[in-house]
Amino acid sequence: MDVQTSQAPETVEAAPPPKAEILEICAEYGNDRHRMMDILHTVQNRYRWIAPETMEAIAEATDLSRIQVEGVASFYSFFSLKPKGRVTIRLCDDIIDRFHGLDAVVAEFERALGIKMGQTSRDGAFSLEFTPCIGMSDQAPAAMINDVVITKLTREKARDVANALRAGETPEKIAVPGFSPSSAHERANRMVNSNIRHAGEVLLGPVPQNAGLTKAVSITPTQIITTMEESGLRGCGGAGFVTGRKWRFAAGGEAERRFVICNADEGEPGTFKDRVLLTERPHLLIEGMTVAARAVGAREGIIYLRGEYEYLRPLLEEVLDERRAAGLLGTEIMGVRNFHFDIRIQLGAGAYVCGEEGALISSCEGLPGEPKTRPPFPVQRGYLGYPTVVNNVETFCHAARILDKGAKWFFDMGKEGSHGTKLFSVSGDCLNPGIYELPYGHSIWELLSIVGGEDAAAVQVGGPSGTMIGRDSFSRKLTFDDLATGGAIIIFNGSRNILEIVEYYMSFFVHESCGYCTPCRVGNVFLQKAIAKFRKGLANPEDIEYLRDLSSTIIETSRCGLGITSPNPVLTTLKSFPLIYSTMTKPTKDGIRDTFDIQAAIDGARKIAKRRSYIFDKDFSQ
């Protein structure tokens, strides 16, 4: 995205909602500023925008200033300071969607609803906008319609959806057609296909209920932690920190309260494994969180569910209720004295950076999703300043299974340093996109033959923040020590334009940088502009060195993982596909770099003068 974005030509008029109603919403959340995300979600869903007067009312109720409320409301993509339509259609514009017919879907929605992308219809009925990866890359193009999801969009399906919406059908009915589903699980499954292509031994094969938790209450918290350490389990979100060690840190020292938080904010483009676990193994996830709570002595837990997965919220609430009723959550869990633990769901609102654990904690606290300064680390001072364990969905599921089957069982799977199985979210140009649970250690070639993607020209391992490799590197292995990944495997065939992919990924990081630190906020914009130069054929040979140099500054000086990995699309393609870059450069005759675009520079004057320059305008003809 560029700094200057185009504005919708007309703004929809709307009166701010009555103050009394806003104060009532705040009161529902105890006028607690830490529940700001919930307050803003409720307001946004009910009134379709956060008006200036609304921010003042919320500030008054939560004892904050208006600018503090605005700081939160303006940070998240799903909150709007301008009136939105009663139905907001968010089309996923990830590169996979683009390569699978997004343009036709966009054109159809624009035509059928009579508005352009980024606009709201004058009658306040519809808003149309783009959103980055919504975790549906295995069934792209996909879209969110308010809080539900529609997948495998085609021009025809887009037309049908738009027509049904215009006829007054609810998004829910469109996403889940036919008879109303009998359970929340069935509803989720009819909306989104889980696409489990290969079930492994640990997570997606048969899983006995609560066997891990039963084991956990029969041993001491210290023994639980020791078991985790012996299993070799490492975090499955991407960073790969040793889980047992994290739990041991969080359990140590004195603290009045401790917290266990599940990071269900998988926003890395091309990743959707947690979506499938949340749908198919919600009990196992909560069992794992409960095990962690016992290990570290936490009484309170939070599932941070990305806003894009709001459609899974009813399912998770149902599971939480079932477990409370069965004595598996709440007080005296499984009849064990002093074992109390309960969980609330915190819904995110469209911010990739909240997958970073500090930013996630900030968001849970009702703040803009900005990473926190380290030290202190979350295990020392996390949520509200208390020791906090933050683990990925898959990590908690593994933890519950390890307790049941033993550390050795898990340790013996996979490779040295990378134990157990891993869920891979496979998408792009292959026969069978979907979820594969495999032990660590397979090569890319092996994976490609399993998924039917042998003619791949490039594979993006770990999403944009990971590594893009070409055919000469397909014998590399999927382990923490070689190709580390949170699970995303995106396959591109020979017809895809590598620079188009890189430019998209850089625009993604520009859109998702929180803006806190200089190198990530500004440097990524420069990288994106530089790649655009290559695509336009305006790059000089020196620009290759410029890309490397700028990338290294961003990596060295950024504050969190987002900035440290954001130049990876550029750096890893420079390494894997150097010829693509060098063929796109040409030395200038006069040695002057092509950074100055005279056309763009005189454009304003040209419009005012209503004349075209016959010197600089190449298309000028008389």
Binding site: Q68, V510, V522
Partner: protein, 248 residues
Amino acid sequence: MSAISDTGTRRDTTFTFTIDGVEIRAQPGQTIMEAADDAGIYIPRLCDHEGLRHQGSCRVCTVKVGGRSVSACTQPANPGTNVESETPYLTKLRRDLVEMLFHEGNHLCPMCEASGNCELQAMAYRLDMTNPTKFPYLEPNRDLDASHPDIALDTNRCISCGRCIRASMDVDGKGLFGYVGRGIKRRVAVNGMDLAHTDAAVTDHAISAEVCPVGCIIRKREGFRIPIGEREFDKGLIGHEIEEKANA
């Protein structure tokens, strides 16, 4: 600093570490920058300011400790560590960051009232930013807020250091300013429709000449009272007060 131990004897809890090979003494809980300041070693910084909470956002104070880069203003000093600061490599990174800030906003020194008193400009001189820069200009075009009788705000010159936010919140107890938006669109905004609709006063610490490092917060009717050539950084490089401590 001394502390009373259990036995009642005074025990020295200070420790030493090195910056670019120079051994300096630090107190427990001090950041690298705090200890360096006390020892008369200047580490370049923009978002950090005496008397305000550390933020660690401009990254100009990036140093290397044990091979890792950290912001000196937020990183606790640790006994026995070796901190690299004034190496050619780090100076280059810092110059890149300062250039990024120049290119992010509209910094036209010859026509800016802050010229000579501007920390961004002074930092550019200190870091030897003397060659033509290579980054593109982002040329923001935000409205000037001149609504207040005594104060004007030109956020096109803002470097997002947030010093005014912290000064107003923590020192003045007013909370006049805050960040809004995300990423490259993140900016400093005021707690109201415009400055005139806030309780901003020209006597606020947040509005004072020392808090805003650039020419973003402008006090009206004061412009050019001190002529160019006699301004703060005309007298010496930025950081010279700290470095003079070492010589004293």
